[in-house]
Subunit: 121 residues, 2 copies
């Protein structure tokens, strides 16, 4: 165990690509991942797990079947498992995700925006 | 599903007692809990789970067998399961915890600081 705090801003400074989650910590079989987003992601769902978004900097929206939830820094949202959703951000937004180990960013959708899994920074 | 962001500051405004975690969200069988701390907690451990601390406002330390980790807003730390730890904060610090449903704040230690579990705000 390394007795050092994990600093979000320091970790965010280590990468610039978007839609590519980077793992910064693990709790049991869950991972905490930083991701930078801008533009529109793909509609997708995760059949096996809820999906947590915590906004650290900026603002984003999550489009959902029943409408849209707007999130800004200091806010979080839990997308229930199996629910289709599409993250979008007009300007770059920095997010902390909490997901089970092995969760793929595009879920059931796949495609070009699918990022490599389990990349630690 | 309520399509509304969970705002940490708004939720923190709903209680003032310290060392008493309040649940604000659930992901699968894990809960996100806000807690305000000041002073010294008890040494304790959680035999069954890692324990996540994310500092939202202020600063705190986690005393550990191998020393002490200092945390400030925008930083997190994962205490591995079974590891004794004691949270401390000179001034009030506001924290987001991520823990399995049913995790008791004082772990194996019990005692006067044991808070009611599963209190939602």
């Amino acid at each position: 165990m390394e007795n050092t705090a994990i600093n979000f801003r320091q970790k965010l400074g280590k990468f610039s690509e978007r839609w590519s989650p980077k793992v910064i910590a693990q709790m049991n079989d869950y991972q905490f991942k930083l991701v930078k987003i801008q533009g529109e992601f793909v509609w997708h769902s995760h059949a096996e797990t809820d999906d947590v978004f915590i906004v650290l900097e900026g603002a984003m929206s999550i489009e959902l079947p029943g409408g849209r939830v707007d999130l800004k820094a200091g806010e979080m949202f839990v997308v229930p498992k199996g629910v289709e959703h599409k993250p979008v951000a007009e300007n770059e937004c920095k997010i902390l995700l909490v997901e089970p180990v092995g969760t793929i960013n595009t879920g059931d959708a796949g495609g070009a925006l699918t990022a490599e899994d389990d990349v630690w920074i």
